[in-house]
Amino acid sequence: MELVEPVLAGDRRALARLLTAVEGGAADLPQALAALYPHTGRAWVIGITGAPGTGKSSLVNALAKAFRERGRTIGIIAVDPTSPFSGGAILGDRIRMRDLAGDRGVFIRSMATRGSLGGLSRATRDAIRVLDAAGFEIIFVETVGSGQSEVDIVRTAQTTVVVEAPGLGDDVQAIKAGILEIADVLVVNKADRPGADHTVRALRAMLELGHPVSRGPLTAHHGRLMQAAPADDNDSQERLWLPPVIETVATESQGIDTLLQALEAHRQHLLQDGVQPSRERERIEIELLDRLQASLLARLLSRVPADVFATVIEQVQSRALDPQSAVATLLEAYDQVIKIHSERAAS
């Protein structure tokens, strides 16, 4: 692909077109991504997730502005859902990011989920790499928090921010289960709205329940829980990171400096406490498993004749076969095709 060199040289038009190729899965994309890969691995990827309307785009806008003031270049990938009915999408995150217009140190790209969630994570990972290779130092990935996309973002980002807002779910029960596992930093945005304190307290209560007390006491710092407590007697090299809860008013840039410091502290935790290499290794393993799964499935489906597949479906429907046996049948059919192929090749 003739876009690789210009992208590395900082050509924004080429960058935009390569991102389109990443989304659409162009035929020569694998070669382009392979050529870019040695130039990746420098960016700090920050995932921002949370329910619709909590203020994620507004926060990205405020954070990007603050990081720009500190001289860092910013790439932004804002993901919105594709309509399951039409396949179209309205991508409106730029509305809240107008402060970033006219700054060549920022590049914003809106992406739709386009069908499969697995597809989203592949396209998002590749889009991040393209921005990384193009030299953007910090890459924000905004996704609507819902089940799989939340898991995907953690598997992709180095630092994950979960955004809550008062009124949307300010009870411990209402706050979605699993947030503790994915959040490196918790933000209660719209702190200008009534009920923000309540949301903060609910989140802190959850944190205290969810974290092993033996790792050391939670340390309050300006009313926030920020301290990475040292690992105690066990042999773990990893220091414990306790997600801070930070109040912001994104539209007024309030609390943004504090949030930025918390993000930097998490970054330091990753880099200094020896966490980064093992995390990256995990991410690579998961990505390879994802890609392998997709490739193996595609290969199997391309080799097993469609009528064999159709017959197996009918058998499962008529209760002649159970689903697991059906899968065994399909795998056998695949092995058979492979065997015939290799015998032909040998003769």
Binding site: A16, R17, T20, D28, S83, G92, R94, S110
Partner: protein, 139 residues
């Protein structure tokens, strides 16, 4: 590009008028026709429109202008898009546009002008047509 490309459209409201109901109706209609619509909100400067068109690599740019400032805004946006290497990206204008201004807009490089009475089907059809005429771009 081997796959059937999803059409990406930028819908922008340049200028100072404060109504975007019409722009939102169009955005929804295009979404329902299977397109990805990047909507940028009110009060966009020509620079913002051209920049968004570049970053989002859209196939078409649609401007909604009710303020009467179209003769000033549209040629400027076309010029900035051309400077951004987006010469091949068609530009559409919708809103309150007097008939006598249409030739000037066309001369400025606008592919379609749509007044208040236009059906959304006509706009969808026009977009599909100009995208097809542009042809499959090299990846």
């Amino acid at each position: 590009m081997t796959d059937q490309r999803t059409i990406r459209v930028l819908i922008a409201k340049p200028g100072l008028d404060g109504h975007d109901r019409g722009a939102k109706v169009i955005a929804r209609a295009l979404r329902d026709a299977g397109m990805e619509v990047i909507y940028t909100g009110l009060r966009q400067t020509p620079e913002m429109v051209a920049e968004a068109a570049l970053q989002e690599d859209v196939d078409v740019v649609g401007l909604s202008i009710l303020s009467g400032a179209h003769l000033a805004l549209v040629p400027r946006i076309r010029q900035l898009m051309d400077e951004n290497d987006l010469r091949d990206v068609p530009l559409l204008v919708g809103g309150i546009i007097p008939d006598e201004d249409v030739p000037a807009l066309r001369a400025a490089g606008v592919s379609g002008v749509f007044g208040p009475g236009t059906s959304t089907e006509a706009i969808i059809e026009h977009i599909r047509q100009v995208v097809m005429n542009r042809g499959g771009r090299e990846g």
